[in-house]
Structure formats: C-alpha cells, structure tokens
C-alpha cells in the first residue's frame, strides 16, 4: 500500500524564495502528496491545534520543508511543533497518534556543505545540528530520516544544482510513497542528498 505524504511547508518570505518555492511546486506535482503552507494558513501564528492534529494523523509520512534558519526551522514551524505535538496525543501516556510515521526534514541552507562538518565553521553536520528534531521524532515514536538538504541555496550562477535537487526531491517523495526507499538503510546516513541529487546533477 502506498504511503500518504504531508509536506508541512514553512517559509516566512515565500514570495522571495529561490529554492523553497521551486521545491514546493515540485512537491505539489507529486501524486499522493499534500502540501500545507503554514505561513499562508496561519499568518498571525494562531495555529488551530485540533485541525492540525486531525490532518497530520491522516498521513503516513510528514515532511518538514523549510529553509535552515539558525540551524533550525523558521519560527512558525517551531510553533507548530510546540503546539501540535501535545502530551497524551503525540507522546506520554496514550500519546501514540504519530507512532510509526516517517519524519523528514527537507531543507535548504545558505551555507556550503563543507561548512557543515568538523573542519567547517558550523562544526557539526546538519544531522547533528538537527538532533532536536530527531529526538522529537523519537519521543513520538516516529521514524526519523536524515535531512534532505540543498546547500548553497542562494547560488544563482549554477541553476543546474537546484534543478538536480528539485528532481531528486520529486524522486524521494515518490520513493517514500511507493515504499521503494530502504528506510532502515537510509536511516543510517548523515543525509539523503547523496542518494538523490547526484544522478541528475553534476555527475
């Protein structure tokens, strides 16, 4: 049976976005994927918790798509996590609503990949930096996938990188839907870009 996928999209300046807007369109084009633009739905940050819980519980995989802002997500996405993942619903006694679902961060970062590592200025790689997300998923009994990241997202000279990443994103979403990605194997990686970006990209 196919997985149903919910993409929670958070970008506070979507009208000026280079990377995320493109990726969002790609996701919207994949069958079986629903995209929710959080900043459009909650421009005043008043999240409807009941509605969100009901919505997210209908899907098998949740993709958090957002630019990397200060090694994390834009504020509204944090607000979404703060409010929607309630005790006794998402975790704690009887909190099993999200159990077994997939959690994926599909992100774009301004920095180069080299900056995310022991040699780089960011010291840690994205997966390590995202450990709050990972631990949140764990606590809710979800399966955490390593981040699918586009680095140097503001690089406008080489469009092909974004093209490749967009194609990879579509393929990743289809694989998740068709269950053709080996989740167990993928979980061990530091990131998913290596699996999906390369074929269509430079190489």
């Amino acid at each position: 049976m196919q997985r149903s996928i919910l993409v929670l999209y958070a970008h506070p300046r979507t009208e000026r976005s280079q990377a995320n807007r493109r990726l969002k369109r790609v996701a919207e084009g994949v069958d079986g994927v629903t995209v929710a633009d959080l900043y459009a739905e909650y421009p005043t940050y008043e999240i409807d918790v009941d509605r969100e819980q009901e919505r997210v519980s209908r899907y098998d995989a949740v993709v958090f798509q957002h630019p990397v802002y200060w090694y994390s997500a834009p504020a509204l996405m944090k607000e979404w996590i703060d409010l929607v993942l309630e005790w006794r619903w998402a975790y704690g006694p009887g909190g099993e609503a999200l159990r077994g679902k997939l959690w994926l961060n599909a992100v774009t970062a301004g920095g180069a990949q080299a900056a995310y590592g022991p040699e780089g200025r960011n010291r840690l790689d994205l997966r390590a930096l995202f450990s709050p997300f990972e631990q949140t998923a764990m606590l809710c009994g979800m399966t955490y996938l390593p981040p699918f990241a586009l680095f140097e997202a503001n690089n406008r000279r080489d469009r092909s990188v974004l093209d490749a990443h967009a194609a990879g994103y579509a393929k990743l979403l289809r694989d998740l839907r068709e269950r053709t990605l080996d989740i167990e194997a993928a979980s061990g990686l530091r990131g998913l870009a290596g699996l999906y970006d390369k074929p269509a990209g430079k190489g």
Binding site: P12, P43, A112, R121, D125, F151, N154, G194
Partner: protein, 640 residues
C-alpha cells in the same frame, strides 16, 4: 424670607465647618455638630422652638434615605446571611443594655417605670452618626462594621415594640397613647390601626411589607424603564424621591419604622439595573438632610441645663457609654470578632441615638418620665453623640496602628459588588469589550443611558445599569473610586472628552481607555488625559486592506506584515502629528505639510523588510571559510 435665611445659615455652617473638620481629621459629622453648637443661638433667634424641632424631625428623613441606600448595596441573600448577627447580636445588645441602664437608673432613685423608659431611650444607638462615619472612614465593609450595622438594623425594628410599651410604663393600661403624642413621632396610621383586632393588625403590616417586595420586584422595573425612556434627569430624580418617600409613608402608615421600610425597598431594588442611578439621585439629598439633622442636634444642646449640672450630665453620659461599651465588648467576644473588629464594634455603638429624642418626647407625654429627666436624657444623648466621632478617631489613630503586628488575624473585608472595570457606554464597541473581559471572569460595571440598549444586554445576561455615564456622581455610585480601569465609549464626542477629563482629575489612579471615532477626536481625548486612545476604525479598515491584498493573491503572511507595517506607520504619524494638531487642523499648514510628508514615506516603509534588507551575497551563511576542494571532499564524506 425667614425660611431662606435659615436655609442659608445651615448651608453656611456646613460649608465652613465641615471642610475644616475633615481637614483636621475629625470627619464631617463632628463638623456638622460643631457648626450646630456655634449656630445654635442664631438658629433659635430665627426659628421658634417648635419650628426648630420640626426641622430636625424633617431632616431625620436623611436617615431614611441612608437606609434606603444601604439597602441598595445589599442583596437579599446577603441580608439573609446576616440574620444570625441581626437577631443574636442585636437582640442581646438591646435587651442587656436596657436592663443594665434601667437597673442603674433605679439605683439612682428613679421610679421603676422611669428607669425602664430611660433604659430603652439610651440603649438605642445613633444610626445616622455611626453609618455616616463608618462610610466616611471606609470601615463599612469590615466585619466589625457589618456587625455594627446588624445591631443598628435590629434597633430599628425594636423601636416598634418600644413605642408600644412606653404607655404601659405610665401605669395607665388601655389608654390610647397615639392621641397624646406630639405631632412628629406620632405614627399616622396608628389611630385606625389600633381599632383593629390584633391579627388584622399583623395582616396589615405583613400586607404592607409584601406589597413593597412585590412592587419592587414587578413594578419598579417597567416603571423606571418608562421614566428613563423619557430621558429627563429631573423626572428620574423626582421618581426616585417619590419612591423613597412613598415607601416611608406607607410603612409609617401601618406603624412601622420608615427607615426600616426604606431599607427593605432598597434591598428589593438592589438587583435592579437602575440601582446606580437611584443611588446617585438620592445620595445628595441624603447628605444634605443628614447635615441639617446633625446641625440640629448640635443646635439643640441646652447649654443652660448643661452648665447647671455639668457633673451629673457628663458623668451620666460617660456612664452610659461605659455600660453600653461593656455590653458590646462582651458580645464581640462571644461572637468571636477579631481584635480589630472587636474594637471597632465596641467603639462604634456605645452612644445613644436620635431615636432617643423621639422616645423622650413620647415618654414625657405619657409621663413615664418627668420633664426634668427628659431634659437631662436629651443632653446625655447629645453628649454621647458628640463623643462618637472621637471614638472612631481613637480607633483609627491608636487602636489600628497597635494591631498592625497581628494583621494576619484580620478577617477579610467584604468585597463589594464594584468591578475593577467600568464600561461607560455599551454600544456594540463597549459590548465587545465587556464580553471579552467577562469571559476572563473580570467583573465589569456597565453603564448606558439608552434603556433599549440595556434591555438587549439584559437578554444576554449582562449586568447593565441605567444612567447618564457622563455624570460624575453616577460614576461614583458605580464604584469608580475602587475601579482600576474606565473604558469610555460614549457616542457623543464632547461628553466623551468631558468624562475622561473629569475622571482623570478626580480619580487619578483610574486608567482611562477611550474610544475615538476619528483622529481629531482621538487628539481631543488625549488632551483630556486619556491614557490610551483607540481609534475605532483603524483596526477594522487595516483588516479590510489586508484581506483585499490576500484576495489579490498576495501571500497571506506578507499581507499580514504589510498591514502591521501600515498600522505602525499610521500610529507613529499619529504621535508625530499630535503636536501640530489644532482643532482647525485643515487650515494649519504645518499639520498639512507634515501629514503629506508622512504619506510619502509610507510606500518605502511598507516595502522595507528587515529580514531581506541585506543582499544575499553579504550573508555569512553563504561564504564558506574553507576552500573549494575541501568542499568536495566534505560532501563526499558526509553522504557516503
């Protein structure tokens, strides 16, 4: 003309003596009494003794009004809760005091009849002085204050049997006292009432009380609604006065105490939304009449007799106070009052009161006591009344400071029905504010002068009171002195500015939030002293602008930000232009120039986005410190 010069004299005395007495901390009651003493000789020169006495009896109506007002503050269920204290404390105070004073009088050689009469005369306390002083000093809500009130209320009831007993003391059973009474204290209906058999008498009395309750429940509302819809202030005042006087006459007619009847009417009307308006209408009359009453008491002191027998009179006065205070102290102990309330209760009630004057007249007429005894008793009452304000001062200056250490034992003061928020004017704007606050469990007092509006609010269960909210006295009755916020949303811009100004001047501790219909109006309200001014159209028009942008396809979050930027710019402009604003702003070139300049900035301001201002290339995120080659290896390392 004679009447006018008399009135002038009373007013002048009050105007001079009261502020001075209050300034030096003696309180208004003592001020009036002293004014009475000073003016006494002149008053006696203008009025005959009979006229002066009649004026005093007339002014006693102030006590009736005071009890009506107290009744208005008291819900029926609160009164019901008082029943234990009323009967227990009140009954014991009257019974024991009468017995002790009578016993002592007997020992001093009075006949037993005279002794009992004197006991009854002196056992009653002064409702007028005590309640007025309690209120003036803010003590009416304390447990001690409430207990004192319960006792006073019981005394009012006790007057009825006391009047009935008095003739028996003359030894002449079966003799018709009512015809022998002097005109004033004579209950007018008693003549016909006495001819009825006992059970019919009871029926008549019960009928009178019942009709007060029923009329208060079912007639008062449509009646006042009708009056209020006429929107004539004088007519409302007239109606309020007619109500109090009418009730007093009715109960007087069946032989009950008018004060008691008025009190009952007050309690019945305490749930009515016209309560505050009634309060503010009756209040000035009550104050004036009580003032006249106190002056009369002062003027009535017979210094001839006092100087003849100073030791006897002062001694007896102190004796009465001592005996009554002892009784009160024992009762306070028995009823387990805290130390503070014990002292307040004991020091509040040991004087003799104005009812004593009435009873003395009665007792001398039926010759239960001699004229001489009557004269002495009158003086004793006056002296004890004079001392009462001093006891309160003693309480607040000496007792209270000493008790401060064990303040934690103090009983909670009764919290009055006053809400922390007063909403003046409940059009749709005020209603929204009210609903929001109520939903938070915040007590609000809502005032409006449109009876239809009030009707609608009542249907939705809102407690709303009728009244012209721009009147300072109504605000006062609504409890603004104890409120923390006033929300002013009156329709008329001029009244709105006036209410803001008045409140800021008189109650500087109240925060004033005022609704303005436009910018012009808003400046005016700020001028008047409002802390916060809400321009009513700003919020909704900006919202419409935002919705329009969204409808045109602008991302909702961007539309929201644009709306906020617009609003902020507008508010800054509002502040900036304030100093250039004049009421003829359109022809004020400074104002116009500034305002044009502001409009030109608007576009730039709305399109500045702090999150996006710096060029992306300048961003630290995009400039790796490491070399290009290491980037390649880094990527390979992390993905394999």
């Amino acid at each position: 003309m004679e009447v006018l010069s008399g009135v002038f004299l009373y007013l002048l005395g009050a105007v001079i003596a009261v502020p001075i007495a209050q300034r030096i901390g003696l309180g208004s009651v003592l001020g009036y009494l002293i004014a009475g003493v000073v003016l006494g000789p002149i008053i006696h020169a203008i009025f005959s003794e009979k006229e002066a006495e009649e004026l005093m009896h007339f002014s006693e109506f102030g006590v009736v009004m005071m009890l009506f007002l107290i009744g208005l503050e008291l819900r029926p269920n609160e009164l019901w809760k008082m029943r234990g204290e009323l009967i227990g404390l009140g009954g014991a105070q009257v019974g024991v005091s009468v017995g002790l004073i009578a016993g002592i009088a007997y020992l001093f050689g009075l006949t037993w009849q005279a002794s009992i009469a004197v006991g009854m005369i002196l056992a009653l306390s002064s409702t007028a002085i005590v309640l007025q002083t309690l209120q003036e000093r803010g003590l009416e809500g304390t447990r001690g204050g409430r207990s004192a009130f319960a006792v006073l209320l019981f005394q009012d009831i006790a007057v009825i049997p006391i009047i009935a007993l008095m003739p028996l003391l003359a030894g002449g059973a079966g003799f018709d006292i009512w015809n022998m009474l002097p005109s004033a204290p004579k209950p007018k209906g008693a003549v016909w009432l006495n001819e009825l058999p006992q059970f019919a008498k009871a029926l008549v009395i019960l009928g009178a009380i019942g009709s007060i309750i029923l009329a208060g429940r079912f007639l008062a509302y449509p009646f006042f609604r009708f009056i209020a819809s006429g929107r004539s202030r004088e007519v409302f005042t007239a109606a309020a006065l007619a109500l109090v006087i009418g009730t007093a006459l009715l109960v007087d007619y069946v032989g009950l105490s008018p004060a008691l009847g008025a009190f009952l009417a007050g309690v019945v009307l305490s749930g009515s939304e016209y309560r505050h308006e009634l309060e503010s209408n009756i209040e000035p009359f009550k104050g004036l009449l009580l003032g006249v009453f106190f002056i009369s008491v002062g003027a009535g002191v017979d210094f001839g007799l006092l100087s003849e027998r100073p030791v006897l009179i002062i001694g007896c006065a102190i004796g009465v106070i001592a005996v009554k205070a002892l009784v009160l102290a024992v009762l306070a102990r028995l009823f387990k009052l805290s130390p503070r309330d014990f002292w307040l209760f004991t020091l509040a009630l040991p004087q003799a009161g104005e009812f004593g004057f009435v009873l003395i007249a009665l007792a001398t007429t039926v010759s239960a006591i001699s004229t001489m005894t009557g004269g002495v008793a009158t003086l004793i009452i006056a002296v004890t009344m004079f001392l009462t304000p001093l006891f309160f001062i003693f309480f607040q200056k000496v007792i209270e400071p000493r008790l401060h250490e064990d303040l934690e034992h103090r009983d909670d003061d009764e919290i009055k029905h006053h809400g922390p928020v007063i909403i003046a004017g409940v059009g749709r704007f005020g209603q929204m504010v009210n609903r929001m606050l109520r939903a938070q469990g915040i007590e609000t007092v809502v005032l409006d002068s449109d009876p239809r509006q009030l009707d609608t609010m009542r249907k939705f269960g809102v407690k709303a009171y009728y009244g012209d909210a721009s009147r300072v006295d109504l605000l006062e009755a609504a409890g603004i002195a104890k409120a923390s916020v006033l929300v002013a949303t009156l329709g008329n811009a001029t009244t709105q500015a006036r209410i803001v100004e008045d409140v800021r001047k008189t109650w500087p501790h109240v925060r004033v939030i005022a609704r303005a219909t436009d910018r012009n109006n808003a400046y005016r309200l700020l001028e008047a002293g409002a802390h916060t001014v809400i321009r009513e159209l700003l919020g909704s028009s900006v919202e419409a602008g935002r919705e329009t942008l969204t409808a045109l396809g602008v991302h909702p979050f961007r539309a929201e930000r644009l709306a906020r930027a617009f609003r902020q710019h507008d508010e800054e402009g509002f502040d900036e232009l304030r100093e250039f604003w004049t009421s003829d702003f359109a022809s004020n070139s400074d104002y116009v120039a500034r305002s044009l300049a502001r409009s030109q900035q608007l576009e730039a301001v709305m399109n500045t986005d702090r999150l996006e201002t710096a060029s992306p290339d300048e961003r630290g995120w995009e400039k790796p410190v490491v070399e290009e080659e290491t980037e390649e290896t880094g990527q390979a390392a992390s993905t394999t």
